[in-house]
């Protein structure tokens, strides 16, 4: 965003959090606008359901709003907030685990929204092949242990760095590297039969 000489720059997350601590409600609205896209996207990656993703990401904002006075700013706001989103998604996944597995097992065709993925193939054959690859990868991703899946989603989909993921997952960077490596190896393995 362009700022003229007179317009103040957008406040950073730390400033906004400090304003929230002082009871300035508008500061939280700025944080909402800043992170709603990413919160929704994480929840969507976990749930594959637009409505659930909306509910979960909004619930994360409500929790953040209630707890922000206790946020001690030792980590960055978005690390703290991502942790809330991820934990909510994992809880939701645990509760709905059986239902999701049944739905995945019974899924013969990919959902319409998955057809919008990147790398549009040019021929029908390539399109079919890419669709099959995506389907296999998606199923393999859903079948990963939660830590591997979380590490992979945060790195591959959200672009968080290893240290940031370690803070979100409250673990060490070495552990995150191992989770990420295993996740990628498992995903690649899921394509072996297809190759």
């Amino acid at each position: 965003m362009f700022h003229g000489e007179d317009s103040p720059p957008d406040p950073g997350d730390d400033d906004l959090v400090a304003m929230c601590h002082r009871g300035e409600r508008q500061a939280f609205d700025v944080l909402v606008r800043r992170y709603m896209h990413r919160a929704y996207q994480i929840a969507l990656d976990f749930t594959h359901d637009g409505e659930e993703a909306k509910d979960l990401s909004q619930e994360a904002f409500l929790r953040a709003f209630m707890q922000i006075k206790h946020f001690d700013r030792r980590s960055s706001f978005y690390t703290w907030f991502y942790r809330i989103v991820v934990n909510l998604c994992l809880d939701h996944h645990r509760r709905r685990g059986r239902f999701l597995r049944e739905r995945l097992d019974g899924r013969n065709t990919e959902p319409a929204e998955e057809k919008e993925m990147a790398g549009a193939p040019s021929t029908p054959d390539q399109e079919a092949m890419a669709g099959e690859v995506r389907r296999r990868l998606g199923m393999a991703l859903d079948g990963l242990p939660k830590n591997q899946r979380t590490a992979f989603l945060l790195r591959n989909h959200q672009g968080l760095s290893i240290p940031e993921i370690a803070k979100v997952m409250e673990t060490t960077e070495g552990t995150v590297r191992v989770h990420l490596h295993r996740a990628v190896a498992a995903l690649r393995q899921s394509l072996t039969e297809f190759a």
Partner: protein, 178 residues
């Protein structure tokens, strides 16, 4: 574009983890240099890296939702936040009333009121009991006091009945003798 023309082969064990980190740009400098040297001569690791570049972006969902969706999302969230704030204000008011020092103070006041109440109303309870007695009609109270009299009267009735039975019995034995 997906080109699935080769079989998937594993990378060298020692480099596989670093290849993943290298793909994401997270491989630290010393390992990265070593890996780049290795990639020049190792076909398996080069292929592994190609696979990562070909497949991993496929899982990402570039979701370009319309602005209307985000406007609606934001409005909905604002409503939820407002409801939460309202609930929070009510709860804060309640909590501000029930402060830590207020609990023992309230307990002490209640104790004092109870003690004073017991002290000053002791006579009142007795008066109440007495006045209660006074409200009972005179006839009933007399009858209640003379309950022994009625019991004696019942006993006398029983004696009369026994005497009558005795007379009947002796009359019947006399007629048998005759």
């Amino acid at each position: 574009m997906v080109q699935q023309s080769h079989s998937l082969r594993p990378a060298c064990k020692d480099f596989e983890e670093h290849l993943v980190l290298y793909y994401y740009g997270d491989c630290p400098a010393p390992e990265r240099d070593k890996l780049e040297e290795h990639l020049k001569e190792c076909a398996s690791c080069s292929r592994f890296l190609e696979d990562l570049r070909a497949y991993l972006p496929l899982i990402v969902r570039p979701k370009n939702l319309p602005q209307a969706f985000w406007d609606s999302y934001y409005r909905e969230l604002q409503k939820k936040l407002a409801a939460l704030e309202e609930k929070g204000a009510w709860w804060r008011e309640l909590r501000s009333f029930v402060r830590p020092w207020a609990v023992p103070a309230l307990g002490a006041v209640l104790g004092l009121v109870l003690a004073l109440g017991v002290t000053f109303t002791r006579g009142t309870w007795r008066l109440w009991e007495r006045s209660n007695t006074e409200e009972i009609p005179q006839e009933i109270r007399v009858a209640a006091n003379d309950i022994d009299f009625f019991e004696v009267m019942d006993l006398l009735d029983s004696i009369d009945l026994l005497e009558a039975l005795e007379k009947t019995k002796s009359a019947s034995t006399g007629s048998q003798r005759l």
